[in-house]
Symmetry: C2
Subunit: 299 residues, 2 copies
């Protein structure tokens, strides 16, 4: 196993432990919503965002427990967004990570509530005293996550995506770039600046990680579009070929497969370049390995 695979496995284990700690099984009358929250978060995702939090936190020697809590908070937000996006009124997906989506395993009302409660829990965790001894760091994390996840960020991006799927007007590359930056890029960027926020890093270090995250987010999206064309439903654990079926404009439909691959490669090179400021250290190596991993992923 290479160092990145090892670090990803460690991040997965850390995340699961932290979710178990923050969201234990309940026997209260409302236990069903807790079960659905656990179902949506303990389902073996790649945990890319928690990994990015833990790795950027390691750059600044942040206490592991602080980083683990922030990692869990981001994963709560990521998972809530998947639960709501999968709903019949949104993308209407039955399958996620190879298992039934939350509203299929439970029901729509429970899925809506579980998503709401996961989003709420993320802020409870970030604001909590055990996340960082300095309350200004906790307040900064809360605001940064809210801005990344809200109408200016992830939710706004999903709104544009929904509108694009019903509108006759095709999107161009700048419009898709903006959409993806909001829909997935902002949360990936928050995962990468969580480290410098927790570690009270210099602004040039934070900016370098923001730039890295911006490029990485686009690489991730372009490879996602490529996989939707090239991979099977079995490999991905979710339905593929959807973009073309829906006539959706993507990086691949606009650029073609070859130019999209070249674009992903160029953005990946650029992402790695931003890491120069951190010199030759383990965490920085892991972050550049991540770019190569995303470029070559098969699911």
């Amino acid at each position: 196993m290479n160092r990145l695979e090892k670090a990803l496995e460690e991040a997965q284990a850390t995340l699961v432990l932290e979710v178990e700690r923050l969201l234990p099984e309940s026997v209260a009358p409302e236990a069903r919503v807790v079960q659905a929250m656990r179902y949506a978060t303990l389902n073996g995702g790649k945990r890319l965002r928690p990994f990015l939090v833990l790795t950027t936190a390691a750059l600044f020697n942040v206490a592991r427990q602080s980083a683990a809590r922030v990692a869990a908070a981001i994963e709560f937000v990521h998972c809530y967004s998947l639960v709501h996006d999968d709903l019949p009124a949104m993308d209407n997906d039955d399958l996620r990570r190879g298992i039934p989506t939350c509203h299929k395993a439970f029901d729509e009302a429970t899925a809506i509530l579980a998503g709401d409660a996961l989003l709420t829990k993320a802020f409870e965790v970030l604001g909590g005293a055990s996340t960082h001894p300095d309350p200004s760091v906790r307040a900064d994390l809360v605001v940064a996550l809210a801005e990344a996840a809200g109408h200016q960020g992830m939710v706004g991006g999903q709104m544009i995506d929904m509108l694009a799927s019903t509108s006759k007007q095709p999107m161009d590359i700048p419009a898709i770039t903006r959409l993806q930056r909001m829909k997935t890029g902002r949360l990936i960027a928050f995962s990468c600046v969580a480290g410098p926020i927790l570690g009270k890093a210099h602004s040039n270090q934070r900016q370098a990680l923001e730039a890295y995250a911006h490029d990485l987010g686009l690489v991730f999206q372009i490879t996602d579009d490529l996989l939707d064309v090239e991979a099977s439903t079995e490999e991905m654990g979710k339905k593929t070929g959807k973009d073309a079926d829906q006539g959706k404009a993507t990086f691949v439909s606009l650029l073609g497969v070859e130019r999209a691959k070249a674009q992903a490669q160029a953005l990946g090179d650029q992402a790695i370049k931003h890491l120069d400021v951190f010199g030759d250290c383990d965490a920085a190596h892991l972050l550049s390995d991540t770019v190569r991993y995303v470029l070559t992923r098969r699911n």
Copy 2:
């Protein structure tokens, strides 16, 4: 106009100004979600929660701007919960405050996203530097609101309510009290402790307001159950007679109208008693007037 009506009108005006400031109209591609967020919050509700924030903040001479931001944050959470509860998969309501519910005026996907974005915005506002100069106060507000709104509070209460409507097991008074305390009581309680948190009040003052809020919340719920039996859809601006139609156990179905009224009155007297610690001041008078207002409300 009496002093309570004047204070309620002032709270409404303050809330509208603050929402306009925090959520201006947008011309961005995602404008639709912002429109839906504004539709859900600028629709002339009673603004009881913002009023409670402003009034309990006045007890401790908190800066009006701080209190106004927290008032808006709570109203964002209250309104998000109404938008999601009204969805077809939940209570399936077409009418709210006399106008079409958010998913009727827009569509389900937009309503889900607008609710998500309102919840997120609430935490962005609480964490923001202009809410209070002391970051530990901001972090405390974030945690307190999240605990009140999440699976331990409002969302958990809604889950129990949904389960009760499909289950054959009738609820008893302790179970309904717990449900209502979670579903509506916790957010009302947060509205009342926002003042002492912002004003760094003594713990006995905070506890007195928590006890007041607990009783007030139950009075509010019992009168809500009574209005569902006694008021018309026109008076309420939402469908009435629903509880009986659905065979739902409420304080009124279990106690009968007369005993429910007596219970509300007794809880109201107790709520007012908790205010003794604040002596003879305008804000305390407004809080006791509020109890009488809720006891005699017609909508």
